[in-house]
């Protein structure tokens, strides 16, 4: 085995929790997770039975006070009909069921942690769910070269708030499990502001002229995961949906 020159091991690296990074910006490094039920339904909703009877209370929808400012998402009438049809057919249509990429802002409020790795030129957000990831360019690279599930993210600082402008979406992702959806005209602007050492205030303004009558906003706190030695683990769910998606093609079907 080739050995490089044996040098003394570096001192134990510490993960700085200080409020500022070396380049003077708010320090967003860390592992974060929301506590809202936004992924079930962005709008306020009471608890309800789930779509799978065998799951009983495990599959039931928890209640949520809603994260939409003004409570209602401003759908165009025909788009509202589409949302309702989406909900009625959600087991077949919700991309989350198939372990597809969650898009933005849904990735933020999935019930899984994500990790921010912050450098001056790029801010990487790595999501535990389906190892989705996005790189926030702190220098504008120009228009997105191609549409994608997670869009292209361009960030800049406004005072102590990280503002992220996301464009270049395809029309495939949903905003939640309630059928809230968009087209490829989607444009999202996020704002991340540190709120004390262990939480972030998060806002996202959403516009899509094909679906909504005006831009609308969601907001919620995001909390730091503080367990000792906390890390992201794998949620590589493709494997878990193969039976669902390809079971009918098995040589010997499962049942």
């Amino acid at each position: 085995m080739l050995l490089l020159a044996a040098l003394p091991a570096a001192a134990q690296a510490t993960i700085t929790r200080g409020p500022r990074t070396a380049d003077g910006k708010p320090n967003l490094n860390g592992i974060w997770q929301v506590l809202t039920e936004a992924n079930w339904d962005l709008q306020g909703h009471a608890a309800a039975a789930g779509p799978m009877i065998p799951l009983g209370a495990i599959g039931a929808m928890p209640p949520g006070q809603g994260v939409v400012e003004g409570e209602e998402i401003p759908y165009k009438p025909e788009a509202l009909a589409t949302k309702k049809a989406n909900f009625a057919n959600r087991l077949k249509l919700d991309p989350e069921v198939k372990c597809y990429l969650p898009g933005v802002p849904r990735a933020t409020y999935m019930p899984f942690p994500f990790q921010i790795v912050q450098t001056p030129q790029f801010i990487l957000i790595s999501y535990e769910y389906a190892n989705a990831a996005r790189t926030i360019y702190m220098q504008d690279p120009g228009p997105a070269p191609v549409d994608s599930w997670m869009g292209q993210s361009v960030g800049h600082w406004e005072g102590d708030t990280l503002v992220v402008d996301v464009t270049g979406f395809n029309d495939q992702s949903w905003f939640d499990r309630a059928g809230d959806y968009h087209t490829d005209a989607l444009h999202v602007v996020e704002r991340y502001t540190l709120h004390g050492a262990d939480s972030l205030m998060y806002e996202a303004t959403i516009e899509d002229k094909n679906v909504f009558t005006r831009p609308w906003k969601i907001s919620m706190p995001i909390y730091r995961r503080q367990e000792k030695n906390v890390q992201l683990m794998e949620f590589k769910c493709v494997e878990f949906v193969e039976e669902l998606m390809y079971g009918q093609y098995r040589k010997k079907p499962a049942n």
Partner: protein, 346 residues
């Protein structure tokens, strides 16, 4: 608010009927003016106003374990029509009669009655006393002690529910009562009404909150006092959504956002409930509620229950976890259908 004949020591104060009539009119008049509450009694001279202690954050202290079991019915019985209060001298005999009657051995020789009527007072905790106000009904308004008339819509809904129950007594769990389904008990409501047993509550107060733990069925009503708005109107809950504030020594709780399945005495989802909790002495909370549901009743109505300090604890009532009743009832219904189908030669 203090009330005529109302005292921790039952029967120790004597009231003349004319005094009672005057005071009752005053009381009803105040209610009709929609409840401006003052801490001092309304012209009730004899009893010294009692001031509750304060919690650490300055709320009048309602804390402790309380029971609201009582033999006083919600509505005034027909044979007491026109009689709003018991005289203190009448109370003991009345209580004795009611309690003995409840404990009569009704078991007969046939199996059905043997099962259905086999429960005596050992199985219940329906109370042994009338309410401390000595009223003959929990309802204090309307004056006749009866629930006001239903609106046409209220009647229609009630009839539909009754018809459904008649035709489909046990097709599925949704046809059974909320208590049998272990979903909601009358003691929780709200309003919080005495029921068959375990009429127990524990009240906790903390920074800006009052929390009422209801034994049946381990429901906790957490009532914020900070004036925040109610939940969005699109969100409906079995126990509604409560908001509280103090008016002097009275906790006033406004509850909205009920579901259309809660159906308190046939109420609609538009029910607006106002509850008032006043600790009138160390062992008593006067609990009053006003039901406001123009879709169902032609006018609002108000009831009072006295809650008595208990030296017991609140137990865990794991209703659903031991719900043999539901399985038995549904299986029994299915067996009945099969048997009658066989008998009918189908």
């Amino acid at each position: 608010m203090l009330f005529p004949g109302f005292s921790a020591e039952r029967g120790s104060k004597k009231r003349r009927p004319s005094d009672l009539m005057n005071l009752r009119h005053v009381f009803v008049g105040v209610l009709a003016a929609a409840l401006a509450v003052t801490a001092a009694g309304q012209g009730l001279a004899a009893k010294k106003a009692w001031t509750p202690a304060r919690t650490a954050d300055g709320q009048p202290d309602l804390q402790g374990v309380w029971t609201n079991a009582t033999i006083t019915p919600l509505e005034r019985p027909a044979d007491l029509a026109g009689k709003a209060y018991f005289a203190p001298s009448e109370v003991a005999a009345y209580e004795k009669r009611i309690v003995e009657n409840a404990n009569v051995d009704r078991r007969r020789s046939d199996v059905t009655a043997d099962v259905g009527l086999a429960y005596n007072e050992a199985w219940w905790d329906r109370g042994t006393h009338v309410v401390k106000t000595l009223r003959t009904s929990l309802i204090v308004d309307p004056a006749d002690g009866k629930i006001p008339a239903l609106t046409p819509d209220g009647e229609r809904r009630a009839a539909a529910v009754a018809e459904q129950r008649r035709l489909h007594p046990a097709d599925g769990p949704e046809d059974r009562g909320l208590t049998e389904r272990c979903i909601l008990w009358p003691t929780a409501g709200p309003p919080m009404m005495p029921s068959a047993y375990n009429n127990n509550y524990q009240i906790f107060q903390g920074q800006g909150y009052v929390a009422i733990m209801v034994e049946m069925i381990h429901d906790v009503r957490i009532i914020p006092l900070d004036g925040r708005p109610h939940l969005p109107s699109g969100v409906r809950q079995w126990l509604g959504d409560a908001r509280g504030h103090w008016e002097g020594n009275t906790l006033v709780v406004e509850t909205t956002n009920f579901t259309d399945k809660t159906r308190f005495r046939g109420s609609s989802e538009n029910l607006r409930l106002t509850e008032r909790f006043t600790r009138t002495d160390p062992d008593t909370i006067l609990y009053e509620y006003t039901v406001n549901d123009p879709a169902t009743w032609t006018k609002p109505w108000t009831a009072q229950v006295t809650m008595t300090k208990s030296d017991s604890r609140v137990y865990e009532y794991a209703c659903h976890e031991g719900n043999y009743g539901m399985t038995g009832i549904l299986q029994g219904a299915r067996a009945d259908e099969k048997n009658s189908a066989k008998a009918g030669g189908k």
